[in-house]
């Protein structure tokens, strides 16, 4: 091996190390207002724990946007929400409930299409061996599992439902706890840790396809009316052109071969621009629950 080769090898190694470090640090990148990197916040409104999928999606977005993309994940909705509201990240895929709460700050970018429509439901589930519970009222005095206090399907809807039944949501259950993720609600109910739980219907149905053993240990006892699907939102100070560009990429995802493949992995059919009125039902429920 001559000197040139050594040099080359050294360079290659350094370059490799740098890129390896970059890859490793990717999901953990500190949140700084760099113009170069587009930061997208993710929440467990979809199955956000599939790292290989996220890697492919990021690469696809980078090709389409012609700029680096970084996904930002946090332990709960609240943190992601704070980041996007504070302008520390550019876009975020959040739930309809926080969007309604901060609709004057956040800007709607796109709404996913599930089974061809921009709607989804909240499911109330119980352990499979519970054969007698027929609805939420039957779970009085039981242990109940919510996904996230900022989730529509995993928190707001059961709260609202109890309210309309004339119950006090804080005392209706003997105990309740948050799992900070829809999938974990399914797990908690499946193992019997909770006697019931509220979960994103889209997540439950997707799990039923990809992890049938998980959903088989639960039983859906109630399905809510349809609500607007968790949307992509942009930070308050996002420029219109940039918002439009990102929206366009999302909207044309279904017409691109790889984009369609990625969408299929999420069991989604595409994105539409969507209207804030899509979330009127959630706004109505939130208003009702807040009155109490």
């Amino acid at each position: 091996m001559n000197e040139g080769d050594h040099l080359l090898a050294g360079l290659c190694r350094r370059a490799f190390l740098r890129s390896a470090l970059a890859v490793a640090a990717m999901p953990l990148l500190p949140v700084r207002a760099e113009t170069g990197v587009l930061r997208i916040g993710l929440t467990p409104v979809f199955l956000d724990d599939q790292l290989s999928f996220l890697t492919r999606w990021r690469a696809w977005l980078e090709r389409r946007l012609k700029r680096p993309v970084a996904f930002v994940q946090r332990g709960n909705y609240r943190e992601v929400l704070d980041l996007v509201r504070g302008g520390k990240i550019d876009f975020a895929w959040i739930c309809g409930y926080p969007y309604i709460r901060y609709r004057h700050e956040l800007r709607l970018v796109a709404v996913p299409l599930w089974r061809g429509r921009p709607y989804y439901q909240s499911y109330i589930i119980v352990p499979a061996e519970d054969g007698h519970s027929g609805g939420l009222p039957d779970l009085r005095g039981k242990v109940f599992s919510y996904s996230d206090p900022d989730s529509n399907s995993g928190y707001l809807y059961p709260q609202y439902r109890l309210t309309t039944l004339g119950e006090n949501p804080t005392t209706f259950f003997s105990r309740n706890f948050f799992t900070w993720g829809h999938r974990k609600v399914v797990e908690a109910v499946g193992v019997g840790l909770a006697d019931g739980g509220a979960v994103d219907g889209y997540v439950w149905e997707t799990l039923a396809e990809t992890h049938p053993a998980l959903t088989r240990s639960t039983r859906v006892i109630e399905r809510s009316p349809e609500f607007g699907h968790p949307p992509f939102v942009a930070r308050p100070d996002m420029s219109a052109s940039e918002l439009q560009r990102f929206r366009a990429v999302l909207l044309e995802m279904a017409s691109d071969a790889e984009g369609a493949e990625l969408l299929h992995l999420l069991r989604l059919d595409g994105f539409v621009a969507g209207q804030p009125s899509l979330f009127d039902e959630i706004r109505r429920m939130a208003a009702r629950v807040r009155q109490i």
């Binding site: 242990v143 599992s145 003997s174 105990r175 706890f177 948050f178 799992t179 900070w180 974990k184 908690a188 193992v191 019997g192 840790l193 909770a194 006697d195």
Partner: protein, 482 residues
């Protein structure tokens, strides 16, 4: 039990040695297994305590924040369903709050959140009692006898205040497979060792038993078959068994000697009885015989010349004379006054047998250092020696040898006559010295009888030793020096 007691030492000793070896192996195995078991238990205790401590420390925050799911995830992460050592896997983990209600558990269905494990009664009620008794900040290991679990309890302490407890329930049965594996392993090693040791032990034990068995075998043949018993292959060691063997050989020797003496005595007594009877008959015959012969002589001297009578009387005289000679031969008389036996008598004997020896081409050798006359009756001694020499020449093979050895000293004349002819069969030996016992066609069979009677009357002893190629008659006759 009786069957076992009756078992031969050939089997008993090896079996006992086997028993001892097996017993030792079992004891060692049991000790090893017990030690391993203790070690396993200690490991388990230590592991349980450290896991409980780690869990207790980790769970403080979720319990403080009432974060059930987080606590559950922590419990789950402490589980390893593919653990190499399943016995180190807690069967159930309970986290209880300060009131001993379930905060979270690894088995939510059995221990629902908020329920009291004590309400299930039994073991868990006693756990609570145990918790009440001890200081809130101490770890405890509780092993209820009636439970399939034993428990390691660690308090959840924040700032000196007990928030609750982490209770690890380990299955007592879960280390049974490991324990069985351990026993199996130990049994395998023991078996291997036994396979190596047992053949040696068996061989060694058999060797220990063999001399005793041989001794017992030999002893069974006493007193019937003394010769076989004497020749038995007995141990020749210096230990007790060897000593026993020596004592046994001595005993058999003495028994044999005694038996020989008895046999000899029997023969002597029989001969003495025959002698007495013969002497009595001979006297009874002799008395009228003398008168008859005298009457015949008187008739011949003074009787008429009737030729027929003379011829008849002559026939009678010859017959009576033959009877007299026979009777005289039977009636050995030693009371006669005789001259002493001199060396010249031996030379005479040689001349007397020469013709017979020459006829059969037998060489007669006489070895006699006798230099002076002995105070013994010469006629009788000559008769003994002549009879023995003639017998020997007759018994010797054609062209064979006969040897007469003779010496004296310490008031005893000893002599022996031997020939190299066929030996005397055993069955004939017992009757050898009886009258008319001769196996030969020639003669009356009185030669040895006469020899025996004379030796007896001279207070001597006569013996015969006959082996193929060498038959020896030996005699010892005492005399009194003037």
């Amino acid at each position: 039990m009786i069957a076992l007691a009756d078992l031969s030492l050939r089997w008993k000793i090896p079996l006992r040695v086997m028993g001892a070896v097996l017993g030792t192996a079992l004891a060692v195995t049991a000790a090893l297994v017990t030690r391993e078991y203790d070690e396993m238990r200690q490991n388990l205790d230590a592991h349980g305590k450290s896991l409980a401590r780690v869990l207790a420390n980790t769970l403080v925050t979720p319990v403080l924040h009432d974060d059930i799911w987080r606590a559950y995830e922590i419990l789950q992460s402490a589980r390893d369903p593919t653990a190499i050592a399943p016995e180190l896997q807690a069967d159930v983990v309970l986290v209880t709050d300060a009131d001993f209600n379930v905060f979270v558990s690894t088995r939510p269905r059995e221990f629902p959140i908020g329920s009291s494990p004590a309400s299930r009664g039994g073991v868990y009620g006693r756990l609570r009692a145990a918790l009440v008794k001890t200081k809130a900040t101490e770890q405890q290991v509780i092993e209820p006898a009636d439970s399939v679990h034993y428990f390691v309890m660690s308090p959840l302490v924040a700032d000196g205040v007990a928030l609750g407890h982490v209770i690890l329930g380990y299955s007592k049965i879960s280390f049974v497979p490991r324990f069985i594996g351990l026993v199996g392993q130990a049994a395998f090693v023991t078996l291997l060792v036994l396979l190596l040791i047992l053949p040696f032990s068996w061989f060694w034990a058999r060797r220990t038993g063999e001399p005793l068995v041989a001794l017992a075998d030999a002893m069974r043949r006493v007193p019937g078959d003394l010769e076989v018993a004497r020749l038995a292959d007995l141990p020749k060691s210096g230990d007790e068994i060897g000593q026993l063997g020596n004592a046994f050989r001595r005993m058999v020797g003495e028994l044999k000697h005694k038996q020989e003496l008895e046999d000899q005595m029997l023969v002597t007594e029989r001969l003495a009885a025959v002698g007495r009877m013969t002497a009595g008959i001979a006297h009874e015959i002799n008395n009228p015989l003398g008168g008859m012969l005298t009457a015949i002589k008187t008739y011949q001297r003074h009787g008429g010349g009737d030729p027929l009578a003379n011829q008849t009387l002559s026939l009678l005289e010859r017959g009576l004379t033959q009877i007299r000679h026979t009777v005289a031969a039977l009636l050995v008389e030693t009371k006669l006054q005789d001259r002493p036996f001199e060396p010249a008598d031996i030379d005479d004997l040689l001349i007397l047998v020469e013709a017979e020896a020459h006829a059969r081409s037998v060489t007669v050798v006489i070895e006699s250092p006798l230099q002076r006359a002995l105070p013994l009756p010469a006629t009788l001694l000559r008769q003994i020696l002549l009879n023995l020499l003639l017998n020997a020449i007759a018994a010797a093979d054609e062209g064979g040898r006969v040897r007469l050895g003779l010496n004296s000293g310490d008031g005893m004349l000893r002599f022996s006559v031997c020939n190299d002819g066929k030996h005397i069969p055993d069955e004939q030996m017992a009757y050898l010295f009886e009258p008319f016992a001769s196996g030969r066609e020639k003669g009356y069979g009185l030669g040895l009888w006469v020899v025996y009677q004379i030796v007896q009357q001279l207070n001597g002893g006569l013996s015969v030793d006959s082996e193929p190629g060498c038959t020896t008659f030996s005699a010892e006759i005492p005399y009194v020096e003037n």
